[in-house]
């Protein structure tokens, strides 16, 4: 990114001349995508892209934005002029002004993420060969006379490089390597059902390292079995139940119920903001054994060490022993939300304006019941046994076990959130399987129902988080399983 020094110097000079403060965001991306369908390569591509995003602020705080994918002096200066012109227009038209960026201290830093295998370690042909063998290995095991299985394997390996430069002298360079392999499984018999299994990280170790590869195979086999069993499973009766969530669904709970509701740009209308638009710090929002933390973790799929505004990203305790204590805040709305800046601003690309976002969000539960086994090896029957033996469920009690996160959504202003699973087990001797159904909850009470957890923390639940038309990588987790008591504000949608 050093090659941009000349352009940066001229752009900052131009900003000065036009009376604006600039944030320059340079992005360069390399990406490899491979899709394998039912034992054959469906598509494969290598792409390089990049560009510059320019945010300009007048002295009064009027703001304008312009972007171009041409990283050259002429295009950059043209966009500086455009952004500055827009910013002045905003002032003239009485638009919202924001001068917070002027208060942030300048910083210089270069961070190179530590990866075991660099982006070019494997050729794309080698990666294709790994994926073909993985796809074929599984698909041949699950096709039968009665049912057929289709598997689409998606591989995405991306290396983003960012350089954030501000008029105050800030100059931060960092890279974000990320890789994911996911298998989309469709079973067909009398009905049709789809499930998913994935593993994510920062490099090609997902394909090379035996431990990770075996974990993906185990997860995919479990998902294949689940998809086949779903073909004949009924729908659950809608209502409120005692529920066990796996760690990926628990991540969904933290992400949808709390993560979005504490993003500082939405605090004015969020249910976790008060009438002044400040975070309701000190409010009891979860059971006292629950803590929620958001943290960028090196090696994780959603790693990002600095914000897209050039501010270091902090570890944020959002809920501490049931009490709301922190928010995910960026430069522009931290003060309005009555919280400190945590460097939470993220952007999908140079073309987008950064917004406060999560990275890796997790639920921690005190006194989680230990287990030495891998979560992938624990069957619903064994889980039921652990619950009964630990006095967490009575033998005749109705307890639902939801498996496999399929995404979620939230309306922070109304405090309503949902997420969906891949399947539901009624836990008992000889568990029965039901079709997936939506988990619909209320932010202010859902987390108060958490009463226990089983297993160690697992933080690799991977996803993509959408907000205001921008998608960014997300991840998180919890102990293997968390237990929620029946709560009238948590509804499982069903028949």
């Amino acid at each position: 990114m050093e090659c941009f020094n000349g352009i940066i110097h001229k752009a900052l000079k131009q900003g000065e001349k036009l009376g604006v403060y600039l944030i320059l965001r340079f992005q360069k991306t390399r990406a490899k995508y491979i899709t394998v369908s039912n034992g054959e390569t469906d598509e494969m591509s290598y792409n390089e892209a990049g560009g510059i995003g320019i945010q300009a602020f007048t002295k009064d705080g009027g703001c304008g934005f312009a972007s171009t994918e041409k990283i050259d002096e002429e295009s950059c200066l043209k966009m500086v002029n455009m952004a500055a012109n827009i910013a002045h227009q905003v002032d003239k038209r009485g638009g919202k002004q924001n001068k917070e960026i002027f208060k942030v201290p300048a910083i210089k830093d270069i961070i190179n993420a530590d990866v075991k295998y660099p982006f070019d370690y494997l050729t794309i042909e080698k990666e294709e060969a790994y994926l073909l063998s993985l796809n074929k290995e599984i698909i041949t095991q699950y096709n039968s006379m009665e049912n057929s299985i289709a598997i689409e394997t998606l591989y995405k390996s991306i290396e983003d490089q960012w350089r954030i430069v501000r008029s105050d002298g800030t100059d931060v360079t960092y890279n974000i390597p990320r890789t994911v392999v996911s298998n989309l499984i469709t079973a067909k018999g009398v009905n049709t059902a789809t499930t998913r299994a994935a593993i994510s990280g920062s490099d090609a170790s997902l394909l090379i390292d035996t431990e990770k590869r075996n974990r993906l195979i185990k997860r995919t086999k479990n998902s294949c079995k689940l998809a086949i069993n779903l073909l004949k499973s009924p729908k659950i009766k809608g209502g409120s139940y005692k529920i066990v969530l796996d760690y990926a669904l628990a991540k969904g709970l933290a992400h949808e119920a709390f993560g979005h509701a504490v993003e500082s740009d939405g605090m004015k209308t969020s249910i976790l903001g008060n009438e002044k638009g400040f975070l309701k710090k000190g409010e009891e929002v979860a059971s006292p054994i629950v803590t929620i933390i958001d943290e960028s973790i090196e090696g994780d799929y959603a790693y990002q060490p600095y914000s897209a505004n050039g501010v270091k990203r902090d570890r944020v305790k959002i809920v501490d022993k049931g009490i709301l204590v922190g928010a995910l805040a960026d430069v522009f709305s931290a003060e309005e939300a009555g919280v400190s800046i945590t460097g939470a601003g993220r952007a999908e690309s140079y073309r987008h304006i950064p917004l406060p976002r999560m990275s890796n969000i997790r639920i921690e539960v005190e006194n989680s019941i230990p287990t030495t086994r891998d979560i992938e090896d624990i069957t619903p029957e064994e889980l039921y046994k652990i619950l009964v033996e630990s006095n967490l469920a009575a033998e005749d009690e109705e307890v639902l076990y939801l498996v496999g996160y399929k995404g979620g959504q939230v309306k922070p202003s109304q405090g309503e959130f949902v997420f969906n699973c891949s399947g539901i087990y009624m836990l008992k001797e000889g568990c029965s399987l039901y079709q997936p159904a939506i988990f619909s909850g209320k932010v202010l009470s859902a987390l108060k129902s958490i009463t226990a957890a089983i297993g160690p923390l697992k933080l690799d639940a991977q996803g993509t988080c959408g907000k205001a038309g921008q998608s960014v990588p997300s991840s998180g987790g919890a102990p293997y399983f968390i237990l929620l008591e029946a709560n009238k504000d948590v509804i499982i949608g069903g028949e």
Binding site: S37, N38, D42, M44, S45, N47, E48, A49, G50, C63, G64, F65, A66, S67, T68, E69, K70, I71, S75, I86, A87, Q89, V90, R93, G95, K96, I124, E128, A150, E152, L184, N191, T192, A193, T194, K235, G238, T269, F332, S333, I353, L355, K406, G407, G408, Q409, V410, K411, S413, Q414, E416, V418, F419, N420, Q435, A437, I438, K488, G493, G494
Partner: protein, 438 residues
């Protein structure tokens, strides 16, 4: 355009034998040069750090290459691609793959005439940006005078120069525009609009008035008890069902790769998928529709095609590759708003539909559509904002969770579709299982 000239010259350099394994046998590309402006309103205020006005210039597209040994490559095009072609072509070659039954380069004899460019929208970008600011002001004023305290919105105008070319002599070069806007009141209910033309006054009034009416209906909150009841899916909600369940299952790649509820045999046998009076078709040649175009990047002309006619499966949505695999003709592919038409031969009016609701809900929004399994047809979705109706009378806003199977619904004799003025997609009245908060 110089970019296109340079790109073509570079491609031609690689069509000769001396390039060895880098020799290109066939190719197509599509590229869009885009200039756009977008203005936002957040919490009643124009601009701000998150929704500040923004301008963008870009060239973006896709290139597809058939190498001399029949391997294939696919890659994105950017402004820098022509300049870095020699480096990129080597990287593309390294990422090439074998495509069994890969499609050939295609060029049709005839392409449709379709109007895609609106001078008024173009004018908004280059000379009259006042209109964009005034529109947001109008939203704020209209909402504010109707008791709506918090207004969010945006408006954007874009102008494109599109090039679609291939090694069989196809040369399409055309201009198009796009205008889009959305409004959201009190973070409860909102509407959006997108077209190649500027929004007309009646449509603007409709989205403003519809939003005001619904927001006020939703503000009186009640809790409902569950059970099977009438569920009216407003057009924007029904559209998400069509996109998620019908189009996903009609997608050629999903059908060919067995990731759809429908098999190729189902299409060959014209199996009845939905009720006889209902049809679903693609239309990408209506003037000024956002989803209209002259040709796909592959060179397949825009046009009309029934996917489902009178309830029976007619064709999956097929690009060249999946058309070849399915042994069927490629079809136009949906490309955004207005390119899908869904209707019944027996449509009702909104008034008639509401009047026949003894007990039911009007679903104004849904959370979680993207989490549903399209292949099963099952849905289990939360609507934080539904309107409870009793004996044809609106009672108040409520939360509801709806569950069912959309394919069963679209086969049920009870289901009705209806048209609302200015709406492209119909509303649907279905019977569904509802879980309430009571």
């Amino acid at each position: 355009m110089e970019y296109i000239k340079n790109l073509e010259n570079k491609i031609k350099e690689y069509m000769v034998k001396s390039k060895g394994e880098l020799q290109i046998k066939g190719w197509y590309y599509g590229a869009n040069k885009n200039t756009s402006i977008k203005i936002g309103l957040k919490n009643n205020q124009l601009g701000g750090a998150y929704s500040c006005p923004r301008a963008e210039e870009s060239i973006r597209g896709k290139i597809y290459i058939i190498w001399n040994d029949d391997r294939r490559s696919i890659a994105i095009l950017q402004s820098n691609t022509a300049r870095n072609f020699d480096k990129m072509v080597e990287l593309w070659r390294r990422a090439s793959y074998v495509e069994i039954e890969g499609a050939d380069i295609y060029a049709a004899q005839k392409y449709p005439q379709v109007k895609l460019f609106d001078e008024e929208v173009n004018h908004l970008i280059y000379s009259d940006q006042d209109y964009l600011f005034e529109l947001l002001d109008e939203y704020k004023n209209e909402f504010g005078s109707n008791g709506i305290n918090d207004v969010n919105g945006s408006v954007s105008a874009s102008s494109f120069q599109q090039y679609i070319c291939n090694s069989k002599g196809l040369r399409i070069c055309n201009r198009s525009t796009s205008f889009s806007t959305f409004i959201l009141g009190d973070d409860i209910y909102g509407r959006s609009f997108i077209s190649r033309k500027k929004i007309c006054k009646p449509k603007k009034q409709q989205i403003i008035q519809d939003s005001i009416t619904r927001i006020n209906q939703l503000k009186t909150r009640i809790k409902i008890s569950g059970g099977e009841m009438e569920v009216l899916l407003l057009p924007q909600v029904m559209e998400s069902f069509i996109q998620h369940y019908l189009l996903n299952n009609l997608n050629g790649s999903n059908v060919v790769n067995k990731r759809s509820i429908f098999s190729l045999d189902n299409f060959n046998q014209e199996v009845e998928a939905i009720r006889k009076d209902m049809s679903l078709c693609i239309n990408t040649i209506t003037d000024y529709n956002q989803g209209s175009y002259i040709s796909t990047f592959e060179g397949v002309p825009g046009g009309e095609a029934f996917l489902i006619k009178n309830g029976k499966l007619k064709t999956p949505i097929l690009d060249l590759k999946h058309g070849k695999k399915a042994n069927r003709k490629a079809t136009p592919v949906p490309a955004g708003k207005g390119s899908i038409q869904f209707y019944s031969n027996d449509m009702v009016t909104l008034q008639e539909a509401i009047e026949q609701m003894d007990k039911g809900i009007i679903v104004c929004d849904l959370l979680g559509m993207h989490t549903q399994d399209p292949t099963s047809g099952n849905y289990s979705l939360t609507s934080p904002n539904s309107i409870y109706v009793e004996n044809g009378r609106v009672i108040g806003g409520c939360k509801a969770v709806i569950s069912g199977n959309i394919f069963k619904d679209l086969r049920s004799q009870h289901t009705k579709l209806g048209k609302i003025n200015f709406e492209e997609i119909p509303f649907a009245l279905i019977k569904s299982k509802v879980t309430g908060e009571k």
